[in-house]
Amino acid sequence: MANKLYDVVVIGSGAGGGMLSARLAGLGAEVLVLEGGPKVDTRTDFNTHALPHEFPSRHIPIMRPGKPGYDGERSRGLGGKTMLWNAVSLRFSQRDFKGRQHDGAGEDWPVSYADMAPYYDSVEREIGVCGNLDHLEDLPDGVFLPPIPMKCSDVLIKQGAAKLGIPVIHVRKATLSRATRTRPACHFCGNCMAGCDVVAKYNSADVNMYPALKTGKLTLRPNSIVHEIAVSDEARVSEVRYFDRETRAEDTARGRITVVACACAQSVALLLMSKSSRFPTGLGNSSGELGKNFIPHINAGFELFLEDLIGNPQGNDEGFLDHAYIPSFMHKQKRDYPRSFGIQFNYQNKRSVGWARSIKGMGRAYKDEVKANYPAYVTFSPYQEMLPNRDSYIDLDYDHPDEYGLPSPRRQWKLSETDWKLHKDMKQKCTDILLASKAKIHSVSSEPTPNHEIGGCRMGTDPKTTVLNAFCRSHDVPNLYVVDASVFPSSSEKNPTLTIMALAARTAEHIADRLKKGEV
C-alpha cells in the first residue's frame, strides 16, 4: 500500500485541502489525503454546548474528555481550522485581485475576478452561504441562502453608521439559514467557534471529506505528519515523507501530483524544511521568495456598551455570533494611503464576561453596573489589508523545535508607514461610527494584532518574483501545488477562507484536466 502511486497526494484537510480533495475524487482522480491530526467527529467530540462553570478552571476545553486531541495551535485535526472558524464568507472583488492597477501599491494576482467567479459560485452552492444581495461594487454578491435578521444591537450600529453615510450589511456566512438535504439549518446557540455539532456551519470534514470517502476514490490517513517533500533530479516531487503522530513510525507516500494545503505558515514551513541539493533553500524556492511577503490581516479591537441597551433585560441575541458586517468604504474616499479595511463586529459569545474585570468600583454598585452593561456589550474589530514588505516574512526556528523535533514556523511582521496611516485612520473611523451609534467605548486595543495568516508563497506570472503560477503550481516543480492563503499575493481586507476554497476548486479542475491529458 505504501508504495501505491496515487494520482494526487494532498497534505492537509482544511478549507483548501478538503475542498480540493473532494473535488478531485469527484472528478475521478485517486486521492490520498495526509492529515497531521486525528479524525474527529463534529457531532460528538467538541465541547460545543458546555458552560464555563462545568470546569474547575472555568476554561472550556476544545475537545470533550477522552476525545482525540485537536491541536489548536496548528489546527491539526480533520477539517483543520474550518472546525472552529466563524464562517464569514466574502468574495474578493476585482479591486482586491488587481489592487496595484487601482492604487499602484502591492502586487496583483495573476487571476481576475472573472476567472474566479465561476468557482465562487460552485463553492457557495456546495457549502451554503447566507447573505443579502447588496449590489456593492467592492463586495460582489454571490449565490446566497436568505440572510439572517440583524441583532437589535446591529440595528443600532446600522443607524449610527448611516448618519455618516456608511452602509452596514447582513453578514455573509457559510452557515445554513435553511436546511439542505444533508444538513439542518442553524439553531442559533451562539457557539459557532466551539465546533458546530449539527454541521449547520460548514466544515470541510463533514461537507467535503466524509462524502468524498464514500466515492471510494479518496483515501484518508489521519495522524500523518509530513516533514519532507523529496524531489528527483528532474525537479519533480518523488515522494512525501511523514511519520505517525502517535507511534512516530516513518512512512512515505507517492503521487503523480502533490498538493500542500497545511494552512499558510505550516505550508511555508514544510517547503522551507524540504531542502535538497536541487533546492538548497527550500522546495521550489529558486526565486528566493518562499516565506517572503507575509501579509496577515491586521486588526484593531474595541469593546463597547450601546447606551440604548444599558439596563435592558437580556434577550437571546446570541444568534450565530455576528449578523452584520461593515464592508470597505475608504477605498472610495480621498486618503493618503493605499488599500482599505472592513469591520467585523458583534461576534462576542456571551458565555465570556472578561470585561467585568475592568468595570470600575466594588460592591453593589459594581455588581449592578456589570449587570446593566451585559445586554449592551459589543465587540468591534476592523480588519485592514497590509502591503507586503521586506521585514514581514515566515522563516524556520530551529532553536525552538516543536514536540516532534521539527523546526517551528516563525512569523515576523512590521507595518510600513502607509500601513500605520491606514491603521490610525481605521481606528478613528471606527470611533466615529461608535460615537454616532451612542456607544460607551470600554476598551480600545493599544497595538495592532495579526489575524488570518496570509502570504509567504505567493502566486504570480514572474518566476523570478513569485513561487507559484496562476494555477497555484510551483514555477520550479511541475507536479507540486500549494492551496491555502499562503498563495495570496495581496490579502484584501476580506476574510480569506471563501477565496481559499474557490482557488481549491479551480486548482482541482486544473489538476484533473492535466491528469486526463496525461501531462503528469
Binding site: 474547575p56 443607524q159 469593546e303 475592568s358 474589530s381 516563525r410 511582521w413
Partner: protein
C-alpha cells in the same frame, strides 16, 4: 497562544500561531488565561468550600474581600458560589501570585491594626470597605505598581472571573440566554428602536 513583542520600531516576532478563529479582543479572550491546561474533569466542578492551598485564616479573609467586591443582592454573594475556592485554585498554581497575596494580606492586617487595633477580618464592614476602597480606586486607574494595589487588582479580577463564570453569576445574575436552540432568529430585541 500567540506571543509577540510589540515594539513598533523593531520587527514584531510572533512565535506562536495566529489564532484559528476570529480575534476576540482583549478581555473577552483572556478571561481564562490564568488557567492551567484543562484536565478531564468535566461535570465534576462542584466548588469546594474550603481552602486547598491557602491557610484557613487567609481563605476567610479572601472570602470576605470577594464578598465586598460582589455582595449578596437578589442573587448570592461571591462566597456562596465558590469564588474563594476558585481564587484558591488559581493562586495555588502561581508562585508570583502567592507571594503577592501573602504580602497583600499582611498589609491589610497591618493597616487594620494601625487604624483600629484589630485584624482586617475583625473590622466592621465599614471599616473593611474604608481600607479597600482606595485600593480599588487605584487598581481601577491601573497605573499603580504598589503591592497592595496589585494585590487588590488580582483579587478583584479573580472574583469577577469566578463569579461571572459560575452558573449563578452567568445565568441568574446576568441572565445569559444563549446555548439554547431556537427555530428562527428574531433579533433579540427587548426594546423599541
Amino acid at each position: 497562544m500567540a506571543t509577540y513583542s510589540s515594539d513598533r520600531r523593531s520587527v514584531l516576532k510572533i512565535l506562536g500561531a495566529i489564532g484559528a478563529t476570529c480575534a476576540y479582543p482583549y478581555a473577552g479572550d483572556e478571561l481564562f488565561a490564568q488557567a492551567a491546561p484543562e484536565h478531564q474533569h468535566q461535570h465534576e466542578a462542584v466548588p469546594h468550600d474550603a481552602a486547598r492551598f491557602l491557610s484557613e485564616a487567609d481563605f476567610r479573609t479572601i472570602s470576605r474581600i470577594a464578598d465586598l467586591i460582589i455582595p449578596e443582592t437578589k442573587t448570592p454573594a461571591a462566597s456562596s458560589v465558590g469564588v474563594p475556592a476558585y481564587i484558591d485554585m488559581v493562586i495555588g498554581r502561581n508562585s508570583d501570585q502567592q507571594a503577592l497575596v501573602a504580602d497583600g494580606l499582611r498589609w491589610l492586617d497591618a493597616e487594620a491594626g494601625r487604624q483600629a487595633g484589630k485584624k482586617f477580618i475583625d473590622l466592621s464592614e465599614d471599616g473593611q470597605i474604608k481600607i479597600l476602597e482606595p485600593l480599588c480606586e487605584a487598581a481601577d486607574a491601573g497605573n499603580s505598581l504598589a503591592r497592595n494595589v496589585q494585590f487588590f487588582a488580582l483579587i478583584k479580577k479573580l472574583t469577577a472571573d469566578g463569579y461571572y463564570t459560575s452558573r449563578t453569576g452567568l445565568l441568574d445574575e446576568l441572565g445569559y440566554t444563549g446555548n439554547t436552540v431556537v427555530s428562527s432568529f428574531t433579533g433579540g430585541c427587548v426594546h423599541e428602536h
